[in-house]
Every structure is written in structure tokens, then in C-alpha cells.
Symmetry: C2
Subunit: 343 residues, 2 copies
Amino acid sequence: MIYNIGVDVSGGDYAPKEIIKGAILAKQEFGQEITLIGVKEEIESELAVCKGRIEDFTVVNASEKIEMGESPATSVRRKKDSSLVIGTELMKKQQIHAFVSCGNTGAVVCAATLKMGLIKGIERPGIGLLMPTAKDVALVMDVGANIDPRPVQLLHYAVMAAEYSTVVLKKNSPTVGLLNIGEEESKGSEFIKNTYKLLSACSLNFIGNIEPKDIFTGRCDCAICDGLIGNITLKVAEATADFVGKSLVEAVKKDFLGFMGLLLMKNSLIKFKKRFHYAEYGGAPLLGIDGIVIIGHGRSNALAVKNAIKVAVQEAKHDLNTQIRRRIDEVCQDSGVRQVPAG
Amino acid sequence: MIYNIGVDVSGGDYAPKEIIKGAILAKQEFGQEITLIGVKEEIESELAVCKGRIEDFTVVNASEKIEMGESPATSVRRKKDSSLVIGTELMKKQQIHAFVSCGNTGAVVCAATLKMGLIKGIERPGIGLLMPTAKDVALVMDVGANIDPRPVQLLHYAVMAAEYSTVVLKKNSPTVGLLNIGEEESKGSEFIKNTYKLLSACSLNFIGNIEPKDIFTGRCDCAICDGLIGNITLKVAEATADFVGKSLVEAVKKDFLGFMGLLLMKNSLIKFKKRFHYAEYGGAPLLGIDGIVIIGHGRSNALAVKNAIKVAVQEAKHDLNTQIRRRIDEVCQDSGVRQVPAG
């Protein structure tokens, strides 16, 4: 089956050029249908510049843009002709199978929730981030959609992350850990302790509290946390890797032998950087909404956009939301959680 | 003036050997008085093994040990003859000028608070961590003493971190940032937004919200956060640096040229590792208590212990707590915060 992936051409620090370039790469590599959503003239002229063929794509005009700094709720309400609003509406009407955006994250979450609605039983959507580990990848969720959640919302995230790992990543009985500052049950904030209780009572493969290092060693498949901790984790990891990398090159360059060594290992360094660069992981699935939305990094280049489209195709191939719908009731019953009606 | 630094010989993953070795190094390098607090026979036999001279040290017997996994409050209450309880009592009685421990962090905080009391106007003690930056060092506070604080307690941390930076690190009008997931005032949890309001109203050099990358670039001298975010930040940074380092060596080794390159840059790598290793930064000051306590990393080796003692001597040389006492009232008045009587 061919899937139709909608791409927000107006969102991201390097939009529209890198988005268009990424879409061209994805078209060549995956051969799926791609719908480009943005300012029509911009799309046409960028396609010409990047030597893409207009006949390879469906183009949907969206005259407005939601900028990175804008208030999510206000911009989504006011800019009805923005690529974000139009893209999420196309998803709702099932005219596309999935929607990819590298734009204002808050606005993507807001538009998706408002236009598509949530899966029955889920209170709030969450962003799952695929992080490279020593073994394979771990899904960290939530990394920024839900800053002040209730414990039951983290139980929902655990269910969704485990289903994503099972259905899309093909992991068998994926392990779920609660991201904390120590392994003991007594560690962490009141919020984390209450979440721990819910997770221990459910039928997921819960392995208890985990520490940040356990994400990297691959000790757990799904690391569950609130959006504040998750976003800080993601940003500290990015900043540390960047700082260590730059300082290392600086330090080594000062020494003649070190500099020669650096030249010799150039190829392996490029391969290494490629393996861990966020561009390789492309996009973060926004889970809990009644549709498929992939959020790309704001600084996405063409490669990152191509890989975000790949993540969208992978999710579209599996009926993840039906599985989530089925599991959410079961798990919440185990935990003795009374479900609220879907909002 | 000669300072007398008390050292907890029974705390830390590599106690007592690495603690004793660190104390011997510190004695040789700084020439201050050092009081070793722990099981007397262990201290004597380790000193003999490590070729330290018993006459260089004062030895205070403490027959009990508080282990890393023990409940802080219970262990401090029950183990009256532990090195932690005796050390903090010696500090209270001013028989030592500062106390250094690499033991159970929660128990150190608990013993220090209980035995020494808090500075008037401070509600809760906080741990300040010195992190290397592209410019010099930044003080991140709190990194784990206070997991569920009130906003006013973060204002207190900001005052203490700024005073530490001014008095001990000799920085002129140090900048204070609130660690968050974005720069805009609207970002973060309700707790962070409320803290932002307090910090904007005070007379500190507050530069607003900062993101994790700003710590590394040296954009701010003091990064203020609750103990949960601070501890996660510290652990993610450690885990990322470790993971990137190990994966890099793995990747480079697979390639012949890369491996040769690695050999050539060995010396610069050793220097690099030294610059950023926590052992070089030694100890984290526990601020807010009416005394001087330095908390070392649980995995401290001799070098880390020596450097923790160095941090203790530096703080002892300055009358930091008098400055904090003076500033806390001023700043809280600016912010319109009603001070509670010291507990």
C-alpha cells in the first residue's frame, strides 16, 4: 500500500528550503505519496531551485505561517489558513495518512489535539523521542507536550510507549522504566512517587525507577517522565554531547600529535557523528491523538526531514492507535484507575 | 591562618582507602590541619598502608557507618556515633572549620541541617554544583537536596549561589539564570513561572530563563533550579559524556586509521578527560546551613577527595555565611517576600 504523508513546508528554522529538500529525498527513497502544505509560490520556486519535479508531489496551499515564538493556542485559533491548521485538518479528514511538522512544537500539539481529537481514554497527548542506546533505541516519553501532568497521564504514556515499541519497533514485551534520580521507591518528588504506585500496579513490564544512565545503556525500552523532565533530559543530552565534542576537538588540536590523530580518524568521526546525530532519528511521534503526527526537530535539515517522513511511514504501516485503544482500558483497569470520558 | 578541615573517612564508594589517600595528598599540597573522622583502627591501618604519617592528622573515632542506601533521617537519628553525626557536631562546636563527606548525600544534608541548623532566613539547604563551562565554571543549584521546593526557596538559592560566586569565586555581579526548557517567560511548569516572578523582582543580576546549553557556554554564572531538575541535569550530563566517550572510542577503534589516530592523541585525551572529570571539581558546597559542608561525589577517588578538601579550604577562607545572612534579608525585601523565622 502507498501512504500519503503530509509535510508542513512552513515550519522549522530552515523552512522552506530544507523541508522541500527532505521531501525530495524521501520521495526518491521511499516512493510514497507526499503532500506539501505551505505557501504555494514558495513551494513551486523552492522545488525548481532544488531540482524537484512538481508532478511528484501534491501541493496544498496554506497562506499563513505560525512562527517559532508564537503562543500555540492563540496562533492555532487565529491562523486558520496556516500549514499547521490545514495539515491537521487534512489528517482529520483522512486525506493524508500522517502529518510531519518541524514547526513550533506547542502549536503542533495544540493543532493536532484540537483538530484530530484524542484517542478515547487518553487525557493528554505526549511526545515520544527515540534516543540511540548502546543496544538499539529507547523511547523517552513525554519530552515536552505536557509540562504539569497528573500521574495517570504518565500511566497513559507508559501504555502508548510500550505499544509503540511493540507494534512499530517490534520489541517483545518492552521494559518500562520511570525516569528518576535514584532506583529506590522512596526517591523523587511526590508526583513521581504517586506515578510509581500506578505503574507498579499495572500489567506493563514495569522495571521500576531508572536513572538517566539506564537510558543510554539500553536497560529499558521506554523511559517515562513528565514533559519538563523529558525536555530537560533531551536538552542536557544535546548540550553535553555538543560541548564535549567541541571541547575535545579544541583540546586535541592544540597538540601536534593530537591534530595528526584527528586527521587519521576523520572518517570514523564522520560515521560516529552520523550514528548519533538527531537527524538520523528524524522525528518524534506525538502519541495519544486520533491520527498520526510526527514532530521534527526545529533545526531539522533535509536529512532529518527525510527521516521524519520515514518515521511517519513506519507508523502509518501499523494500526498503532487501535492497539493503544485496546490496551489503555485493560491497563487502567489493572491499576484501578477510573477513566475519564475522552475530551 | 591555618584551617582545620574535618573529613568523613567512612563515607563514599571507595572509603576508607581513597578518602585517606586524598587526605594525605591534601595535607601535602595545602598544608592545612586535617581531622580524620571514622573508625580509628581502620584509619590507622589505612594510613600505614598508604604511607601517611599519623602525626600529620587529628583522628576522631566514630564507630558507626551510615551506608549509601540507608534512610537519611532514620540513620542520622539512630547512629549517634557515625562519622557523619560526629563530623557535623564538631562543625557545630567549631572544633573544625569545615566538614567534607562523600557519603550518603541525603544523610549529609540531614545531619548538617539537624546538627548545625540553618542560616537565619533560609528555609532549606541546597547543594551547589560547580560545572565546567567554555568560559570558567557555573554554579548549578540545587542539584538534589530539595526535591519539592517552594518558589521562595529557589530565591534563597539564587542569593546563596550569587554570594558564593562573588565571595569565593571572585566574580563581579554574577549573572543568575532560571533553568528552564525555553527562554520565554511563559515556558515551564507553574512552579517555574512563579519562581520567575520572584527572581525578576529581586535585585540580583537575573538574566531570565536559561536553557541547559547556556550552562555550558558560560552564559550564566548561577543556574537555579529545584533539586529534581538539578539532579537529573547532572546525571544526564554525566551519562551523556560517558556514553559519547565510550561509543566514540568503540567506533574509532574499528577502523585502522582511526585506531592509529587514537594512539597519537592519547596525551591530549588524557589532559582533556582530566579537565572535565568531576574529580577535578571535587566537591559541591551545601549552602544554607550555619557552617561549611562540602559534599563529594559518591564515587570519589583520592584526587576528588583532595579537591573537595580544596573547595572546603576556599570556602573557609571567606566569611560566606555572614554575606549570605546580610543579603538574604535585602533580596527578600525587594521581592516582597515575607520571611519565615529560621527553623
